[in-house]
Symmetry: D2
Subunit: 243 residues, 4 copies
């Protein structure tokens, strides 16, 4: 329980480098930097970063071996993520129980779609409209220290139908000014791993500077951290009782 | 409600052709034949068959377009199923709501693993031991007309940990003589589609002649049949309310 | 499958008789009459009514013995419903699998609270505001024939936190003009019985004349109808295997 | 996270005082004593006890106000537990998030039945037979440090159908020598509270001296401890947005 949770904050980090987009100005250290900086203020959490254009996308065997929880933000370059790396991440989640926090447009990442088994498609609109996030489950650990609801003045809209399997816990639902709702905070278990999908975080808004958004991510790091159950044995087995 | 449910019973159909195995003698028309023959005795159900070694594995566009529910039995040749066909089946389930019933060793089929997102691994033993299937949920439609529990005198054992996401409904759990338990009857929803995994059916036993086993498959056909909800629209959307 | 589903539409029927309220004018035959009239247009459904001020609230042993699905609307007089009748209804749901559809302010009825085990409390506002109901699960039988979303121009607002156990299927979520969201269409299984909670239906609005609302109730009647599983035996049992 | 979890171990404590039963010899300090002694060896946990025959069953307002997690063992005297105390415990779970761990024959306690909303009935047999507990979910916190399965040489049998709502997480399933299976480790959320039902613990066996059984209870204490979400407001609300 007292061990440090080692987080790797993964980011596509392309919008940040695009001079025609505001992302770099909003996040001088990248969205990954903003998130990692926050996580490093939490007791018992130690966060590093990794990005698409690093060798092996920054997710070398060594990095993955030292990651308890991985957060994932991608958008325009999902297809550039190598299948071999996706496969390694999938194995870490399913077989080793690495936690995975999928952020915003990461809904369409290869790793999330593979873990969900569905299309993960949704409706969207870039209109800088108001999002109001309702926390349905005050008794869930991811709700710790959060208000009943909070607003993000300007966000991209995501609307239902969100094509995911029904979440194991539905912790948050968003209301959008334009008339839509969305399952914004969703917990899943896949293999040994815990997965949390969290909707907000469009690259043109300062969402990852919002204290409530950051608190959600911090809580999710604690909730998704690996458990310490037995190592599963599969395959051919002798009987435990006389046949 | 009154429309006929069109079922395609898919089978690898290799053990049946192997003279060193008893499968062909137990099932002169193949396991697919035994299952389809039973389904064709049910009012409102019309079943055909398809097998691995037919062109396109018997799952042509035309066959799939006329299939409401697909049942799947495979074992030694999962890797021979073409990815393109798996992709078509996946789309039919997720986007069109085709029902899918995965039988026994089909747990390791490409289509089931893709829909689950996990390894779908398990423990097993071929020792002709007794399986006792307990039906946990008497109020579930798949339990219609079944006893509280029934025995299969000789079956292959499958034991937990079964690496699947927690089922949406857990309808049956098996007890094995050798000391194991298994989640034997599992309902899932993926996209618009309903999926039922049903454990029994080792190729060396007359399991698909058992009346309770057949009744489960018949009930599952009715439960997994496509619903008639709206066609989902995804992508960019105008606001419904004034922004 | 072909048997008629016998529905009893229960209503408090007090607002209808109050000359200071518009309910009686909106529903000359009562809300129960409007719902029962619609259900009687459906093939395979036969609906009657029962109300609070009838002897035994209209729910005599004979009526209950001939009811497959019970719908429940109550508001100001939950406390006047006799515990003995609640107990009978609870037994019919849990032990016999009678379907139960709880409407709107029925969230605070004795029978719903007893079946849920929680407070069933919520936020509310009577401001005649717009409700938009999103159907999250197009593959669910309760979504049959419904659009992706529909509006009710004037309704009472109900807002989260709705203090219920997480539904087994969350089929619909409402958006309210004033900023709230609500889990509006919720499926539960309790004992042998299926339960559907459906939010809309304030007594001052013509909600139960809305074709989409009525269609939801009709679909829910089909979904909650009793299944035909085994009769459960509880208590002391002999071993099935040698000890 | 670093706060001490205050546990109250509640026991009927009648079998212990019955000279015709072995319970008192197996548990010189009572089953409650055995459990509390174990919990007090855990870092960050402080356990006391309360029993039926104490004033207010040992569950005074002061005791409840200082309890984060309550464990409950009862058998022959469920009906002697005062409704007023049950109501207080229910409020603490649902409104304040107190954790509740229900042990063995506590399945028929007033508090568990009230929280579940079902009959909580089951099959049973006192034949000193072998129980084998399989832990289905190695990634669940309640599985921490436990083996894949463990045996209890002599236990009372509990068999399905166990009339509970489907658990939110099904962590353990038992195999019994005589042919039954049982959902032995079940997680529920009710209101703000987390509830864990754990099957073993018949009063004539030394079950609460078994290290695996004790470890499960210790893990469950950590899993059911209250979270720190917002205080829910219910009732009439002003709009957050302009109507």
């Amino acid at each position: 329980m007292s061990k440090v949770i080692r987080v790797t904050v993964w980011n596509e980090n392309r919008h940040e480098k695009n001079p025609n987009m505001p992302t770099g100005q909003i996040y001088p250290e990248g969205m990954h930097g903003a998130i990692a900086n926050y996580l490093n203020t939490l007791e018992g959490v130690k966060a590093g970063t990794a990005t698409l254009d690093e060798p092996e996308h920054g997710l070398t065997d060594d990095v993955l071996a030292n990651t308890d929880v991985l957060t994932w933000w991608g958008h325009g370059a999902h297809h550039e993520v190598q299948d071999e790396i996706v496969d390694k991440v999938w194995r870490k989640v399913v077989f080793d129980g690495m936690g995975l926090i999928v952020l915003h447009s990461g809904h369409f990442s290869k790793i999330f779609r593979r873990l969900m088994g569905t299309s993960c498609d949704l409706k969207w609109r870039e209109a800088n409209e108001k999002e109001r996030i309702w926390i349905l489950e005050p008794g869930h650990p991811i709700a710790d220290g959060l208000p009943e609801q909070f607003e993000l003045e300007h966000e991209e809209m995501y609307g239902e139908r969100f094509d995911i399997p029904a979440p194991d816990d539905l912790v948050m639902v968003s209301w959008f000014k334009g008339g839509e709702v969305f399952r914004t905070g969703c917990c899943f278990h896949r293999g040994r791993g815990k997965i949390f999908y969290f909707r907000p975080g469009h690259e043109t808004h300062p969402t990852y500077h919002d204290p409530n958004v950051l608190k959600v991510i911090g809580n999710a790091v604690k909730w998704t951290k690996p458990s310490e159950g037995y190592a599963v044995g599969y395959g051919n087995r002798k009987p435990l009782e006389e046949l």
